[in-house]
Amino acid sequence: MSKDQIGHDLGFGLEKTAEAVVLSKGTSMVANALKGAGSTTLFRAASSAEVSDMAGNGVRNAAGSYETSKLFASSASDAAQFGKNNFALDGVPNTLVKVKVPNSVMKTATTFEADGMKAVSIPANQLPKVRPVGLLNYTPKPTNPFGFPGW
C-alpha cells in the first residue's frame, strides 16, 4: 500500500468519524428540540365573560384586570378551589378551563404558593401561545359561602 493510499484511507476514516460525531450531536439536538416542543397542561377558574373572550380572542388579559401576567393552577382540583375562593369574594361563578402551555413558555413562568395552593404565573407577552383546549363540566361554588338560610 502506497503512502498516498494510507493517507487517503486515514483521511476517509477521520471524515467518517467526524460525520458520526456530528450526526449523533444532531440527533440529540433534535431529541432535545422535540422534548422542548411539548406542552404542559394547566387549569384556570374563569368567569363566563372570560370564557367567552377566550373563545373569540384566545388567552389574554382584560382591560382593568391583570396586566403583567395571568395566573393558572397546576391541577383541576386547585383551580376548583381558586374558583370557590373567587366566588366567595365576588359572587361570580367560575368555570374551569383547561389550557396547553408550550414548554418553551413554561420556562418563562414563575411558580409560587397563593392561598395555600400552587399558582403558575405566565407573563402577559407569552399568553398568545397558551391554547385553551376545553372546559371542565364543573362550576366550583362553595356550599353556602355566606351562611344564608335556604341557600
Partner: protein
C-alpha cells in the same frame, strides 16, 4: 361539606407604582392581585380591591384609599391591624404597589 367563608374587609391606603416592569394601565374594581404583608411576607394571598367614591380606575403612579376584601382563613390575624403594610403583585414576586391598613371595618360570615 358545608364550607364557610369569612370575608374580612379593610380600608387601606394604596400606591400603584409607575415605571418599567410596572402596570402601564389603570385597574378597576374587583382587581384581584396577590398580597404579601410585611409581617408575614411568605404568605401570599389573593384579595379583591374595590374602588371608592364612584372612582372607575386607579392609575399607575397614583395613591388613594381603597377597600379590600380577603378570605379570612388565608390571612394571619396579625396582618389585620391598622398600620400594617403590604405589597401587591400579579406574579407573587414583582411588586406593583404597596399599601397600608387604615381600618378593619367589617367582618361578615
Amino acid at each position: 361539606m358545608n364550607v364557610m367563608y369569612d370575608i374580612v374587609k379593610i380600608l387601606a391606603k394604596l400606591e400603584l407604582f409607575a415605571g418599567y416592569n410596572m402596570r402601564q394601565w389603570p385597574f378597576s374594581s374587583k382587581y384581584r392581585p396577590i398580597f404579601s404583608f410585611s409581617n408575614d411576607p411568605w404568605n401570599k394571598i389573593s384579595g379583591s380591591i374595590d374602588l371608592l367614591n364612584e372612582q372607575n380606575y386607579f392609575e399607575p403612579g397614583s395613591t388613594g384609599i381603597v377597600q379590600i376584601s380577603f378570605i379570612k382563613g388565608f390571612l394571619n390575624d396579625s396582618c389585620l391591624q391598622p398600620g400594617q403594610t403590604f405589597f401587591i403583585s400579579e406574579d407573587g414576586s414583582n411588586n406593583l404597589g404597596k399599601g397600608e391598613v387604615i381600618e378593619v371595618f367589617s367582618e361578615d360570615s
